[in-house]
Symmetry: C2
Subunit: 228 residues, 2 copies
Protein backbone atom coordinates (compact mmCIF):
# COMPACT_ATOMS: atom_id res chain seq x y z
CA UNK A 1 0.00 0.00 0.00
CA UNK A 2 2.93 2.36 0.37
CA UNK A 3 3.00 2.47 -3.39
CA UNK A 4 -0.54 2.06 -4.61
CA UNK A 5 1.02 2.47 -8.00
CA UNK A 6 0.39 6.10 -7.45
CA UNK A 7 2.86 7.86 -5.24
CA UNK A 8 4.54 11.23 -5.48
CA UNK A 9 7.79 10.88 -7.34
CA UNK A 10 9.93 13.40 -8.99
CA UNK A 11 9.02 13.55 -12.64
CA UNK A 12 11.80 10.92 -17.17
CA UNK A 13 11.75 11.26 -21.03
CA UNK A 14 13.28 14.73 -21.01
CA UNK A 15 14.57 13.66 -17.61
CA UNK A 16 16.48 16.25 -15.63
CA UNK A 17 17.62 16.19 -12.04
CA UNK A 18 14.25 17.58 -11.09
CA UNK A 19 12.32 15.03 -13.08
CA UNK A 20 14.35 11.87 -12.48
CA UNK A 21 12.21 9.06 -11.13
CA UNK A 22 13.83 7.72 -7.98
CA UNK A 23 11.05 5.63 -6.49
CA UNK A 24 10.40 2.28 -8.21
CA UNK A 25 12.54 3.37 -11.19
CA UNK A 26 11.48 0.30 -13.21
CA UNK A 27 8.17 2.06 -13.71
CA UNK A 28 9.92 4.94 -15.41
CA UNK A 29 9.50 4.98 -19.17
CA UNK A 30 11.87 6.88 -21.45
CA UNK A 31 10.01 6.38 -24.73
CA UNK A 32 8.61 9.59 -26.20
CA UNK A 33 6.13 7.37 -28.03
CA UNK A 34 4.61 6.19 -24.77
CA UNK A 35 4.61 9.74 -23.46
CA UNK A 36 2.71 10.92 -26.51
CA UNK A 37 0.26 8.01 -26.39
CA UNK A 38 -0.65 8.77 -22.82
CA UNK A 39 -1.10 12.47 -23.50
CA UNK A 40 -3.16 11.71 -26.61
CA UNK A 41 -5.43 9.30 -24.74
CA UNK A 42 -6.26 11.48 -21.75
CA UNK A 43 -9.27 13.76 -21.58
CA UNK A 44 -8.34 15.95 -18.66
CA UNK A 45 -5.06 17.18 -17.17
CA UNK A 46 -4.44 18.53 -13.69
CA UNK A 47 -2.40 21.73 -13.57
CA UNK A 48 -0.72 23.31 -10.56
CA UNK A 49 -0.75 27.03 -9.82
CA UNK A 50 0.93 28.64 -6.82
CA UNK A 51 -0.85 31.67 -5.39
CA UNK A 52 0.62 33.35 -2.31
CA UNK A 53 2.51 30.20 -1.40
CA UNK A 54 -0.58 28.03 -1.65
CA UNK A 55 -0.69 25.50 -4.48
CA UNK A 56 -3.93 24.85 -6.35
CA UNK A 57 -4.61 21.88 -8.62
CA UNK A 58 -7.10 22.56 -11.36
CA UNK A 59 -8.54 20.26 -14.03
CA UNK A 60 -8.17 21.51 -17.61
CA UNK A 61 -8.96 20.36 -21.11
CA UNK A 62 -5.76 20.06 -23.14
CA UNK A 63 -4.13 18.68 -26.28
CA UNK A 64 -0.64 17.65 -27.29
CA UNK A 65 0.86 19.45 -30.26
CA UNK A 66 4.27 18.04 -31.18
CA UNK A 67 6.53 18.63 -28.22
CA UNK A 68 4.17 20.85 -26.29
CA UNK A 69 0.99 20.49 -24.31
CA UNK A 70 -1.65 23.14 -24.96
CA UNK A 71 -4.32 24.08 -22.46
CA UNK A 72 -6.69 26.94 -21.86
CA UNK A 73 -8.74 28.78 -19.28
CA UNK A 74 -10.63 31.96 -18.62
CA UNK A 75 -8.97 35.37 -18.84
CA UNK A 76 -11.05 36.23 -15.76
CA UNK A 77 -9.43 33.48 -13.70
CA UNK A 78 -6.94 34.74 -11.16
CA UNK A 79 -5.09 31.48 -11.24
CA UNK A 80 -4.93 31.38 -15.01
CA UNK A 81 -3.64 34.96 -15.15
CA UNK A 82 -0.82 33.86 -12.85
CA UNK A 83 0.05 31.08 -15.27
CA UNK A 84 -0.06 33.49 -18.22
CA UNK A 85 2.70 35.43 -16.49
CA UNK A 86 4.93 32.40 -16.97
CA UNK A 87 4.97 31.12 -13.41
CA UNK A 88 6.40 27.58 -13.02
CA UNK A 89 3.71 24.97 -13.30
CA UNK A 90 3.20 21.23 -13.49
CA UNK A 91 0.71 19.46 -15.72
CA UNK A 92 -0.12 15.81 -15.05
CA UNK A 93 -2.22 13.31 -16.98
CA UNK A 94 -3.11 10.00 -15.33
CA UNK A 95 -4.85 7.08 -17.02
CA UNK A 96 -6.07 4.41 -14.64
CA UNK A 97 -6.01 0.94 -16.20
CA UNK A 98 -7.07 -1.23 -13.31
CA UNK A 99 -6.78 -2.49 -9.78
CA UNK A 100 -3.88 -4.77 -8.86
CA UNK A 101 -4.95 -7.20 -6.16
CA UNK A 102 -2.07 -8.73 -4.25
CA UNK A 103 -2.14 -10.97 -1.16
CA UNK A 104 -0.86 -8.13 0.99
CA UNK A 105 -2.01 -4.58 1.45
CA UNK A 106 1.49 -3.28 0.78
CA UNK A 107 1.80 -4.94 -2.64
CA UNK A 108 -1.72 -4.03 -3.70
CA UNK A 109 -1.54 -1.37 -6.36
CA UNK A 110 -3.06 0.08 -9.49
CA UNK A 111 -2.15 -0.28 -13.13
CA UNK A 112 -1.81 3.14 -14.69
CA UNK A 113 0.00 5.29 -17.22
CA UNK A 114 0.99 8.79 -16.20
CA UNK A 115 2.84 11.79 -17.56
CA UNK A 116 4.05 14.73 -15.49
CA UNK A 117 5.35 17.84 -17.26
CA UNK A 118 7.04 20.75 -15.49
CA UNK A 119 8.11 24.13 -16.74
CA UNK A 120 6.92 27.67 -17.34
CA UNK A 121 4.04 28.03 -19.75
CA UNK A 122 4.18 30.20 -22.86
CA UNK A 123 1.23 32.49 -23.63
CA UNK A 124 -0.14 31.91 -27.12
CA UNK A 125 -1.57 34.71 -29.24
CA UNK A 126 -2.81 35.35 -32.75
CA UNK A 127 -2.73 32.43 -35.19
CA UNK A 128 -0.98 30.19 -32.68
CA UNK A 129 -3.78 30.78 -30.20
CA UNK A 130 -6.49 30.07 -32.76
CA UNK A 131 -4.73 26.89 -33.89
CA UNK A 132 -4.32 25.74 -30.29
CA UNK A 133 -8.05 26.12 -29.65
CA UNK A 134 -8.75 24.00 -32.72
CA UNK A 135 -6.32 21.34 -31.50
CA UNK A 136 -7.89 21.18 -28.05
CA UNK A 137 -11.31 20.72 -29.66
CA UNK A 138 -9.90 18.04 -31.98
CA UNK A 139 -8.35 16.27 -29.03
CA UNK A 140 -11.70 15.97 -27.27
CA UNK A 141 -13.73 15.10 -30.37
CA UNK A 142 -12.05 14.90 -33.78
CA UNK A 143 -14.26 16.31 -36.51
CA UNK A 144 -16.28 18.64 -34.33
CA UNK A 145 -14.36 21.84 -35.02
CA UNK A 146 -15.37 22.12 -38.68
CA UNK A 147 -19.06 21.97 -37.74
CA UNK A 148 -19.14 24.70 -35.12
CA UNK A 149 -18.73 28.45 -34.91
CA UNK A 150 -15.14 29.41 -34.16
CA UNK A 151 -14.47 31.86 -31.33
CA UNK A 152 -15.40 35.51 -31.92
CA UNK A 153 -12.81 38.16 -31.09
CA UNK A 154 -14.56 38.77 -27.78
CA UNK A 155 -14.65 35.06 -26.95
CA UNK A 156 -11.01 34.72 -27.88
CA UNK A 157 -10.11 37.65 -25.60
CA UNK A 158 -11.95 35.91 -22.79
CA UNK A 159 -9.67 32.90 -23.21
CA UNK A 160 -6.06 32.42 -22.14
CA UNK A 161 -4.27 29.72 -24.11
CA UNK A 162 -0.94 28.37 -22.87
CA UNK A 163 1.72 25.99 -24.18
CA UNK A 164 4.00 23.95 -21.95
CA UNK A 165 7.11 22.31 -23.42
CA UNK A 166 7.58 18.56 -23.00
CA UNK A 167 11.34 19.09 -22.56
CA UNK A 168 11.14 18.37 -18.85
CA UNK A 169 8.80 15.56 -17.99
CA UNK A 170 8.45 12.07 -16.60
CA UNK A 171 6.44 9.07 -17.72
CA UNK A 172 5.46 6.19 -15.47
CA UNK A 173 3.68 2.99 -16.39
CA UNK A 174 2.59 0.04 -14.31
CA UNK A 175 1.14 -3.01 -16.02
CA UNK A 176 0.48 -6.63 -15.25
CA UNK A 177 0.02 -8.81 -12.23
CA UNK A 178 0.69 -8.17 -8.56
CA UNK A 179 4.24 -8.75 -7.36
CA UNK A 180 3.57 -10.58 -4.16
CA UNK A 181 6.07 -11.25 -1.43
CA UNK A 182 7.03 -14.94 -2.03
CA UNK A 183 6.23 -15.87 1.59
CA UNK A 184 2.64 -14.70 1.19
CA UNK A 185 2.11 -17.10 -1.73
CA UNK A 186 2.85 -20.11 0.47
CA UNK A 187 1.42 -18.78 3.72
CA UNK A 188 -1.62 -20.93 4.66
CA UNK A 189 -3.53 -17.75 5.52
CA UNK A 190 -3.03 -16.10 2.14
CA UNK A 191 -2.10 -18.76 -0.44
CA UNK A 192 -5.80 -19.31 -1.16
CA UNK A 193 -6.53 -15.62 -1.62
CA UNK A 194 -7.42 -14.76 -5.21
CA UNK A 195 -4.88 -12.40 -6.80
CA UNK A 196 -4.81 -10.68 -10.16
CA UNK A 197 -6.07 -7.55 -11.81
CA UNK A 198 -9.40 -5.90 -12.45
CA UNK A 199 -9.34 -3.82 -15.63
CA UNK A 200 -10.87 -0.36 -15.63
CA UNK A 201 -12.15 1.20 -18.83
CA UNK A 202 -13.63 4.55 -19.73
CA UNK A 203 -16.10 4.68 -22.57
CA UNK A 204 -18.48 7.03 -24.29
CA UNK A 205 -22.16 6.20 -24.21
CA UNK A 206 -24.90 7.01 -26.67
CA UNK A 207 -25.09 10.69 -27.60
CA UNK A 208 -28.09 12.53 -26.10
CA UNK A 209 -29.56 15.31 -28.30
CA UNK A 210 -30.68 18.59 -26.76
CA UNK A 211 -34.08 20.20 -27.48
CA UNK A 212 -32.78 21.98 -30.58
CA UNK A 213 -31.52 18.85 -32.29
CA UNK A 214 -34.91 17.33 -33.14
CA UNK A 215 -34.69 15.50 -36.45
CA UNK A 216 -30.98 16.17 -36.85
CA UNK A 217 -28.85 13.07 -37.23
CA UNK A 218 -25.96 12.89 -34.77
CA UNK A 219 -22.77 13.18 -36.84
CA UNK A 220 -20.72 10.02 -37.41
CA UNK A 221 -17.70 11.48 -35.61
CA UNK A 222 -19.68 11.26 -32.38
CA UNK A 223 -20.87 7.71 -32.85
CA UNK A 224 -17.48 6.36 -33.85
CA UNK A 225 -15.33 8.19 -31.32
CA UNK A 226 -13.56 5.87 -28.90
CA UNK A 227 -10.43 6.27 -26.86
CA UNK A 228 -7.94 3.80 -25.42
CA UNK B 1 -13.94 27.05 -25.16
CA UNK B 2 -12.72 29.55 -22.59
CA UNK B 3 -14.47 27.44 -20.04
CA UNK B 4 -14.37 23.86 -21.23
CA UNK B 5 -16.14 23.17 -17.99
CA UNK B 6 -12.70 22.77 -16.59
CA UNK B 7 -10.88 25.96 -15.85
CA UNK B 8 -8.76 27.09 -12.95
CA UNK B 9 -10.96 28.71 -10.38
CA UNK B 10 -10.42 29.44 -6.80
CA UNK B 11 -11.80 26.53 -4.81
CA UNK B 12 -16.74 26.41 -1.98
CA UNK B 13 -18.38 24.23 0.80
CA UNK B 14 -16.03 25.30 3.58
CA UNK B 15 -15.62 28.31 1.33
CA UNK B 16 -13.08 30.87 2.43
CA UNK B 17 -11.73 33.86 0.59
CA UNK B 18 -9.11 31.59 -0.90
CA UNK B 19 -11.61 29.00 -1.98
CA UNK B 20 -14.50 31.13 -3.19
CA UNK B 21 -15.55 30.27 -6.71
CA UNK B 22 -15.59 33.44 -8.76
CA UNK B 23 -15.75 32.11 -12.29
CA UNK B 24 -19.16 30.74 -13.36
CA UNK B 25 -20.36 30.75 -9.73
CA UNK B 26 -23.55 28.87 -10.66
CA UNK B 27 -21.38 25.79 -10.95
CA UNK B 28 -20.34 26.12 -7.33
CA UNK B 29 -22.03 23.64 -5.02
CA UNK B 30 -22.28 24.19 -1.29
CA UNK B 31 -23.73 20.83 -0.31
CA UNK B 32 -21.39 18.71 1.79
CA UNK B 33 -23.37 15.72 0.52
CA UNK B 34 -22.32 16.39 -3.04
CA UNK B 35 -18.76 16.97 -1.89
CA UNK B 36 -18.72 13.62 -0.13
CA UNK B 37 -20.34 11.82 -3.07
CA UNK B 38 -17.69 13.07 -5.44
CA UNK B 39 -14.87 12.16 -3.10
CA UNK B 40 -16.38 8.74 -2.49
CA UNK B 41 -16.81 8.03 -6.19
CA UNK B 42 -13.29 8.97 -7.37
CA UNK B 43 -10.46 6.48 -7.63
CA UNK B 44 -7.50 8.82 -7.87
CA UNK B 45 -6.72 12.30 -6.56
CA UNK B 46 -4.11 14.73 -7.79
CA UNK B 47 -2.02 16.33 -5.06
CA UNK B 48 0.26 19.35 -5.31
CA UNK B 49 3.68 19.58 -3.69
CA UNK B 50 5.96 22.59 -3.94
CA UNK B 51 9.69 21.82 -4.03
CA UNK B 52 12.14 24.70 -4.39
CA UNK B 53 9.44 26.92 -5.88
CA UNK B 54 8.44 24.32 -8.45
CA UNK B 55 5.00 22.73 -8.07
CA UNK B 56 4.52 19.05 -8.79
CA UNK B 57 1.17 17.32 -9.31
CA UNK B 58 1.13 13.68 -8.33
CA UNK B 59 -1.64 11.09 -8.57
CA UNK B 60 -2.49 9.30 -5.32
CA UNK B 61 -4.89 6.71 -4.04
CA UNK B 62 -7.07 8.19 -1.31
CA UNK B 63 -10.22 7.80 0.78
CA UNK B 64 -12.58 10.14 2.56
CA UNK B 65 -13.00 9.61 6.29
CA UNK B 66 -15.62 11.95 7.77
CA UNK B 67 -14.35 15.46 7.24
CA UNK B 68 -10.89 14.52 6.09
CA UNK B 69 -9.29 13.05 3.01
CA UNK B 70 -6.64 10.40 3.66
CA UNK B 71 -3.85 9.58 1.23
CA UNK B 72 -0.52 7.85 1.31
CA UNK B 73 2.86 7.55 -0.36
CA UNK B 74 6.35 6.24 0.11
CA UNK B 75 8.54 7.32 3.00
CA UNK B 76 11.37 7.33 0.44
CA UNK B 77 9.65 9.95 -1.70
CA UNK B 78 11.20 13.39 -1.43
CA UNK B 79 7.92 15.01 -2.35
CA UNK B 80 5.96 12.99 0.17
CA UNK B 81 8.42 13.82 2.93
CA UNK B 82 7.83 17.48 2.16
CA UNK B 83 4.09 16.95 2.61
CA UNK B 84 4.67 15.07 5.86
CA UNK B 85 6.30 18.25 7.19
CA UNK B 86 2.92 19.93 6.86
CA UNK B 87 3.59 22.07 3.80
CA UNK B 88 0.45 23.60 2.24
CA UNK B 89 -1.03 21.36 -0.39
CA UNK B 90 -4.05 20.99 -2.64
CA UNK B 91 -5.86 17.75 -3.40
CA UNK B 92 -8.28 17.62 -6.33
CA UNK B 93 -10.65 14.91 -7.49
CA UNK B 94 -12.30 15.25 -10.90
CA UNK B 95 -15.02 13.00 -12.30
CA UNK B 96 -15.69 13.47 -15.98
CA UNK B 97 -19.30 12.77 -16.89
CA UNK B 98 -19.38 13.65 -20.56
CA UNK B 99 -18.75 15.95 -23.47
CA UNK B 100 -21.03 18.96 -23.97
CA UNK B 101 -21.37 19.71 -27.65
CA UNK B 102 -22.56 23.23 -28.38
CA UNK B 103 -22.86 25.02 -31.72
CA UNK B 104 -19.87 27.18 -30.91
CA UNK B 105 -16.38 26.34 -29.75
CA UNK B 106 -16.69 28.78 -26.87
CA UNK B 107 -19.80 27.16 -25.39
CA UNK B 108 -18.53 23.62 -25.90
CA UNK B 109 -17.70 22.14 -22.53
CA UNK B 110 -17.60 19.05 -20.38
CA UNK B 111 -19.95 17.75 -17.74
CA UNK B 112 -18.02 16.99 -14.59
CA UNK B 113 -18.01 16.95 -10.81
CA UNK B 114 -14.93 18.17 -9.00
CA UNK B 115 -13.68 18.80 -5.49
CA UNK B 116 -10.62 20.83 -4.61
CA UNK B 117 -9.31 20.76 -1.03
CA UNK B 118 -6.55 23.01 0.28
CA UNK B 119 -4.70 23.04 3.56
CA UNK B 120 -1.73 21.58 5.37
CA UNK B 121 -1.76 17.82 5.79
CA UNK B 122 -1.54 16.07 9.13
CA UNK B 123 0.83 13.11 9.51
CA UNK B 124 -0.94 10.01 10.82
CA UNK B 125 0.74 7.52 13.11
CA UNK B 126 -0.08 4.46 15.20
CA UNK B 127 -3.69 3.28 15.18
CA UNK B 128 -4.83 6.24 13.11
CA UNK B 129 -2.31 5.32 10.44
CA UNK B 130 -3.35 1.67 10.40
CA UNK B 131 -7.02 2.63 10.19
CA UNK B 132 -6.33 5.05 7.36
CA UNK B 133 -4.60 2.34 5.33
CA UNK B 134 -7.64 0.11 5.79
CA UNK B 135 -9.93 2.93 4.67
CA UNK B 136 -7.92 3.60 1.53
CA UNK B 137 -8.07 -0.10 0.67
CA UNK B 138 -11.83 -0.15 1.36
CA UNK B 139 -12.29 2.87 -0.84
CA UNK B 140 -10.70 1.14 -3.81
CA UNK B 141 -12.32 -2.24 -3.23
CA UNK B 142 -14.64 -2.81 -0.28
CA UNK B 143 -14.16 -6.23 1.25
CA UNK B 144 -10.58 -6.75 0.15
CA UNK B 145 -8.88 -5.72 3.37
CA UNK B 146 -10.13 -8.64 5.45
CA UNK B 147 -8.71 -11.14 2.94
CA UNK B 148 -5.16 -9.83 2.72
CA UNK B 149 -2.10 -9.55 4.91
CA UNK B 150 -2.02 -6.20 6.72
CA UNK B 151 1.18 -4.14 6.58
CA UNK B 152 4.15 -5.40 8.59
CA UNK B 153 5.97 -2.93 10.82
CA UNK B 154 8.60 -2.51 8.14
CA UNK B 155 6.00 -1.95 5.42
CA UNK B 156 4.20 0.54 7.61
CA UNK B 157 7.44 2.44 8.22
CA UNK B 158 7.93 2.61 4.47
CA UNK B 159 4.60 4.37 4.14
CA UNK B 160 3.65 7.96 4.92
CA UNK B 161 -0.07 8.44 5.56
CA UNK B 162 -1.55 11.93 5.59
CA UNK B 163 -4.92 13.48 6.40
CA UNK B 164 -6.17 16.71 4.89
CA UNK B 165 -9.16 18.49 6.45
CA UNK B 166 -12.18 19.28 4.25
CA UNK B 167 -12.63 22.60 6.11
CA UNK B 168 -11.35 24.57 3.15
CA UNK B 169 -12.55 23.26 -0.15
CA UNK B 170 -14.64 23.93 -3.23
CA UNK B 171 -17.05 21.78 -5.18
CA UNK B 172 -18.05 22.37 -8.77
CA UNK B 173 -20.59 20.53 -10.86
CA UNK B 174 -21.66 20.96 -14.46
CA UNK B 175 -24.58 18.91 -15.76
CA UNK B 176 -26.97 18.97 -18.67
CA UNK B 177 -27.13 20.41 -22.13
CA UNK B 178 -25.02 23.02 -23.86
CA UNK B 179 -25.95 26.65 -23.24
CA UNK B 180 -25.69 27.99 -26.72
CA UNK B 181 -25.64 31.63 -27.69
CA UNK B 182 -29.25 32.23 -28.94
CA UNK B 183 -28.00 33.68 -32.22
CA UNK B 184 -26.19 30.46 -33.06
CA UNK B 185 -29.41 28.46 -32.75
CA UNK B 186 -31.04 30.46 -35.55
CA UNK B 187 -27.96 31.08 -37.64
CA UNK B 188 -28.36 29.21 -40.96
CA UNK B 189 -24.76 28.01 -40.66
CA UNK B 190 -25.20 26.43 -37.25
CA UNK B 191 -28.92 25.83 -36.60
CA UNK B 192 -28.64 22.41 -38.25
CA UNK B 193 -25.62 21.37 -36.21
CA UNK B 194 -26.39 18.55 -33.78
CA UNK B 195 -26.00 19.63 -30.15
CA UNK B 196 -26.23 17.72 -26.93
CA UNK B 197 -24.10 15.60 -24.66
CA UNK B 198 -22.08 12.42 -24.93
CA UNK B 199 -21.94 10.57 -21.60
CA UNK B 200 -18.67 9.16 -20.38
CA UNK B 201 -18.56 6.22 -18.01
CA UNK B 202 -15.83 4.35 -16.21
CA UNK B 203 -16.38 0.69 -15.47
CA UNK B 204 -14.59 -2.35 -14.15
CA UNK B 205 -14.14 -5.28 -16.51
CA UNK B 206 -13.87 -8.98 -15.75
CA UNK B 207 -11.24 -9.83 -13.13
CA UNK B 208 -8.11 -11.51 -14.55
CA UNK B 209 -6.47 -14.08 -12.23
CA UNK B 210 -2.70 -14.28 -11.95
CA UNK B 211 -0.72 -17.55 -12.21
CA UNK B 212 -1.14 -18.32 -8.52
CA UNK B 213 -4.94 -18.13 -8.55
CA UNK B 214 -5.60 -21.32 -10.50
CA UNK B 215 -8.76 -22.97 -9.23
CA UNK B 216 -9.52 -20.16 -6.79
CA UNK B 217 -12.89 -18.50 -7.25
CA UNK B 218 -12.69 -14.70 -7.57
CA UNK B 219 -14.41 -13.28 -4.47
CA UNK B 220 -17.87 -11.79 -4.90
CA UNK B 221 -16.70 -8.34 -3.76
CA UNK B 222 -14.71 -8.11 -7.00
CA UNK B 223 -17.52 -9.19 -9.29
CA UNK B 224 -20.09 -6.93 -7.72
CA UNK B 225 -18.00 -3.79 -7.31
CA UNK B 226 -19.25 -0.86 -9.35
CA UNK B 227 -18.85 2.86 -8.92
CA UNK B 228 -20.90 5.82 -10.03
Amino acid sequence: MSDPGLTPDGPQPGSTKRTKIRRIPDRAVTSPTVRDEVLDAGLVAHVAVIDAGQPFVVPVAYARSGKEVLFHGSSASRLFKTLADGQPTCLSVTLLDGLVLARSAFESSMNYRSVMVIGSPRLLEGDEKAEALRRISDHLLPGRWSDIRPPSDQESKATIVLALSLDECSVKVRTGNPEDVPEDLVDPNFAQVWGGTVPLTESFGTAVPDEFSGGIQAPSYIETWTRS
